[in-house]
């Protein structure tokens, strides 16, 4: 079964990763580069002179953007391995998985690893003030696990015990609250930060819907192939 999970996940993760990388380069990267002009002090928000909101940005950088494509494909392949492993678990328990159901899995994945953490820690543009990194990483990881577990209970649990636990798991990390800095010292205009967070979430949603659909499609094919009698 490992071969079926790995094959489905590699195909699905790589396809979704390339889509995510292309969308990020077109929609997110220009906002990030704009913010870096403020982070590096090339332009100053609320300085002596008003600055244009449309500065000249560096174009496509083969090394930097090539590494981004590589790492985006890697991240989504990692997500795909976990997603297809969970699909295999659900299949063993009688769930039907195909590309159309995969879209729902993708939406659940987006809610777990992008939207729920972003509710406390919005995707941050370079140069903004932030709390201690390890504390944020711990909160991020705990929120992802709690949200994913809650969505699994909503989808596959039954009865008010399961649904009550799911509501608790969804609320707990947000009520505890994400670590935030004591003061705001970032030089980046809030307009850029807001646009960056919205773009990052939008690209994440598109990529996860694609990842779920691809994962469902490839997993269904691989699982069906494994069920066929061997000819040898």
């Amino acid at each position: 079964m490992f071969r079926q999970i790995a094959t489905s996940a590699l195909f699905a993760g790589f396809c979704a990763g390339l889509i995510a990388a292309a969308l990020q380069l077109v929609f997110v990267q220009p906002v990030l580069l704009h913010a870096e002009l403020y982070e590096g002090g090339d332009i100053v928000h609320f300085g002596a002179e008003a600055v244009s909101a449309h500065p000249d940005l560096p174009g496509f950088d083969p090394v930097r953007d090539g590494l981004s494509v590589l790492f985006t494909a890697l991240v989504y392949t990692g997500y795909a391995l976990i997603l297809v492993a969970l699909m295999a678990l659900a299949t063993q328990r009688g769930a039907v998985i195909d590309a159309r159901h995969g879209i729902l899995w993708g939406l659940a994945g987006f809610a777990s690893v992008h939207f729920a953490p972003a509710f406390g820690l919005p995707p941050e543009v370079p140069g903004v003030a932030a709390a201690d990194l390890v504390a944020r990483q711990l909160w991020w990881g705990a929120t992802v696990v709690a949200t994913a577990a809650a969505l699994w209970l909503i989808a596959f649990g039954s009865g008010w015990m399961a649904w009550g636990a799911a509501i608790g798991l969804l609320l707990a990390p947000q009520l505890v609250g994400a670590p935030h800095p004591d003061s705001f010292t970032g030089p980046v205009p809030p307009e850029i930060g807001a646009l960056f967070a919205a773009r990052a979430l939008g690209v994440g949603l598109a990529a996860w819907v694609a990842l779920g659909a691809f994962a469902g499609y490839f997993w269904q094919r691989e699982a069906a192939g494994a069920a066929l009698p061997r000819t040898a």
């Binding site: 997110v28 990267q29 590494l67 997500y79 391995l81 997603l83 690893v113 972003a118 941050e124």
Partner: protein
């Protein structure tokens, strides 16, 4: 012990064995496969998204911001 077996009896025995052995092995290896795949996936996410080694951080910098991972 094959001398007392009729050809049809042997066929029935071997079918029984092939029907049962993979099913039992399948459940165990299925759970192991699921855990192994998920752990490898988790390792890739931690490596690409969260480790702070300088070279790794610089290479993955834009992706970490764009994917919403805590960075810096």
């Amino acid at each position: 012990m094959m001398e007392t077996q009729t050809p049809s009896g042997m066929t029935a025995r071997s079918e029984n064995m092939t029907a049962h052995a993979p099913a039992a092995a399948g459940t165990t290896s299925g759970a192991l496969s699921i855990v192994a795949a998920a752990l490898i996936g988790l390792g890739i996410i931690v490596f690409a998204g969260h480790l702070q080694a300088q070279t790794l951080h610089d290479a993955a910098h834009d992706v970490r911001h764009a994917t919403g991972f805590p960075c810096h």
